[in-house]
């Protein structure tokens, strides 16, 4: 069927359906169950956590409004928040760099682009915990690489070391695959002409990268980077498996307190949960504010 005819039929249907608002309605209605479910689960869960953190749902004793849970671990909480921010920030930055490069290679479409795309596609569905276990087996003191190089004593403290190298490496690796695929997907939907036009007009590779490819992928890069940041900021298993017992990132600290045998530490765990959620929300808002400034997004 020729394109003009298809358009005509569609517009015909639209007029037949009546006023222009109505066709939107079924779409909104279809989304309502999912939205309600998500709102109830996320909103209900957050409200419960907030109530617990404020001492309104104690396991023993009577409910009493107090901020004690927030101040109980003052120093550790600040150190933990700083550590979490540093880990999530560094790994997100690395993931964006590697991911963007991977996207450019994928866009070239040659065999190495296909290889990178295949590798990224394989990495994304792999659970973080599997990635963490694999990283541990590979990089730990008695891990595979240490054995291959026979560097028993001289092996650097990558796993459980002071710089959290293994944790950052795992997040950067997994999230770079995600960032790479998202950015490549966005670039693929844009007309290639921009780059070709720029090339025809005599722009060199670097200039095309700076003035064409980077601005085109910036929104996707920012969104996927924010998702990666929030994920690594709030996730627990990688930091627990590959980190050290002190200082602790916020999620590890929250889980330790939640599982702690003392009955009073649950509100403290909930308080850390609230702080983690607040920082994540803040990161999302900041990212959104930046996105609004990007001409392409508008």
């Amino acid at each position: 069927m020729p394109e003009s005819e298809v358009l005509a039929t569609r517009s015909g249907q639209r007029t037949a359906a009546g006023p222009s608002l109505k066709p939107c309605m079924p779409g909104v209605l279809l989304a309502v169950p999912a939205v309600v479910l998500v709102t109830v689960v996320v909103g209900g869960g957050s409200a419960m956590v907030a109530a617990q953190s404020l001492g309104l749902m104690p396991l023993v004793g009577r409910p009493e409004l107090s901020a004690a849970a927030y101040t109980a671990h003052g120093g550790d909480l600040l150190v933990g928040a700083g550590l979490s921010l540093a880990i999530a920030g560094t790994s997100t930055l690395l993931a964006c760099l590697v991911g963007f490069t991977a996207a450019l290679i994928i866009m070239q479409g040659r065999w190495c682009g296909k290889l990178v795309a295949a590798m990224s596609t394989l990495s994304v569905p792999l659970p973080h915990i599997v990635g963490a276990a694999a990283t541990g087996l590979l990089l730990a003191d008695s891990g595979l690489l240490a054995r291959v190089f026979g560097a028993a004593e001289g092996w650097p403290a990558i796993v459980g070391g002071p710089w959290w190298v293994a944790v950052i490496f795992e997040y950067a690796w997994k999230e770079s695959a995600f960032v790479g695929l998202v950015v490549a997907g966005t670039l693929a939907t844009r007309p290639v002409d921009y780059e070709e036009t720029a090339a025809l007009l005599g722009a060199g590779r670097l200039r095309r990268l700076r003035h064409v490819l980077l601005p085109l992928s910036l929104p996707a890069l920012m969104i996927s980077g924010t998702i990666a940041f929030i994920y690594s900021f709030g996730s627990y298993e990688v930091a627990w498996l590959l980190g050290r017992p002190y200082p602790e990132p916020l999620p590890v600290m929250a889980l330790r307190l939640y599982n702690s045998v003392s009955l009073t530490s649950r509100p403290e765990a909930a308080a850390i949960g609230v702080i983690t959620a607040a920082v994540s929300l803040g990161a999302a808002l900041v990212a959104l504010a930046f996105l609004r400034k990007i001409p392409l997004w508008r």
């Binding site: 749902m57 023993v60 028993a152 459980g160 050290r244 017992p245 002190y246 599982n259 045998v261 003392s262």
Partner: protein
């Protein structure tokens, strides 16, 4: 139940589950990374008012039991109804009190355990004979020893052992928690552990987070000592080559801490009678003997040898002995009692603040 012990898992799956099925009870083993997870589940169910909860029987002891009891997480007063309780010794202090918390029929005994330090006799030719001697050995051989960071169960026990040692024996530490005694005795413990720090693996700048990590270090030859509250696992780890063949159990003159572990029924359980059938079955001579076989699990029985039936005695007599781990009579010689559950979080928190976070 704790799922990190493959032999324990295999015993339950291969022997206890089929035996329970014969009694008409479907037993489903749910592995947890830490018994606290199971307790937390029960506490959450209690918080939400569930009466037919997901957990019907928990392998538990110590502070998890104490905390659960304080929060009303366990069903109580049912163990006297179990016929097989008759084969246990009612005056056995290990079975009537669990880390200082009166059992009060809230949990049925299952196994006894003895804290055990193991070493590689090829690397440590003249092993120390006391805990103080061990600490001296560590200072003379920097980087060859470490212990899991409390609140890990095993690391937590080691700090209590060191507390006994620096206090001049367990008789000098009141078993019931007492803030005065805590303030009086712990400075020596902190000093000792601080002094030890530079001689530990990675100069004590960090610690393994779990006994599993310590075992990995020991298996990789990075440290010469490991420790466990379940010495049964040593036999298998040496036989399958994970641990060095020269692994031996360190015999300490002053003895080590011993305890018993139990099966508790959550107050939120919807299948209380079925859980009682399983707890009774687990206490039977046949199951206790199977469980004590080093080739199966090697957990020490809780039964009173004097109260065994002739068949039961024959069953236990036929058990093979382990090439690595001495029998319970040897291990539990001079056994030290466990401190009351309230000591445990206090010591763990002290360790965290002073040793782990302190410089």
């Amino acid at each position: 139940m704790y799922g990190g012990d493959t032999q324990g898992n295999a015993y339950v799956d291969d022997y206890l589950v089929p035996a329970a099925a014969k009694e008409g009870v479907t037993l489903k083993r749910v592995p947890v990374a830490d018994t606290k997870d199971a307790l937390n589940r029960v506490l959450t169910e209690k918080q939400s008012g569930t009466t037919a909860g997901q957990v019907d029987l928990v392998w538990v002891n110590g502070d998890n039991f104490g905390t659960g009891k304080a929060a009303g997480a366990w069903a109580c007063g049912w163990t006297s109804l179990l016929p097989n309780m008759g084969v246990t010794n009612p005056s056995d202090p290990l079975l009537s009190e669990d880390f200082g918390t009166p059992v009060d029929g809230c949990e049925a005994p299952w196994s006894k355990a003895q804290f055990t330090i193991a070493y590689n006799s090829a690397a440590v030719p003249g092993p120390p004979k006391t805990l103080a001697g061990l600490l001296d050995w560590v200072k003379e051989h920097p980087g060859r020893f470490t212990y899991p960071a409390p609140p890990d169960f095993t690391g937590s026990v080691l700090t209590r052992e060191v507390l006994y040692s620096v206090s001049g024996g367990y008789t000098n530490v009141p078993l019931a928690f007492d803030q005065g005694a805590f303030d009086r005795l712990t400075p020596a413990l902190v000093t000792e552990l601080q002094d030890l720090k530079p001689s530990l693996w990675r100069e004590g700048s960090t610690y393994p987070k779990s006994s599993r990590e310590l075992n990995a270090l020991y298996a990789g030859g990075q440290v010469d000592f490991t420790m466990t509250y379940g010495p049964a696992e040593l036999t298998k780890l040496v036989t399958d080559g994970t641990f060095p063949a020269a692994t031996k159990v360190l015999a300490l003159d002053e003895g080590t801490v011993g305890n018993a572990s139990f099966l508790a029924i959550p107050s939120t359980s919807g299948h209380r009678s079925a859980a009682m059938v399983v707890a009774n079955l687990a206490l039977s001579e046949e199951q206790q003997a199977r469980k004590a076989d080093p080739g199966i699990w090697g957990q020490f029985p809780v039964l009173n040898p004097g109260a065994l039936s002739p068949e039961g005695r024959a069953l236990f007599g036929r058990l093979p002995s382990s090439p690595v781990v001495p029998g319970y009579e040897v291990l539990s010689k001079n056994a030290n009692p466990e401190l009351a559950a309230a000591w445990v979080p206090a010591l763990d928190e002290l360790w965290r603040r002073q040793i782990l976070a302190g410089k």
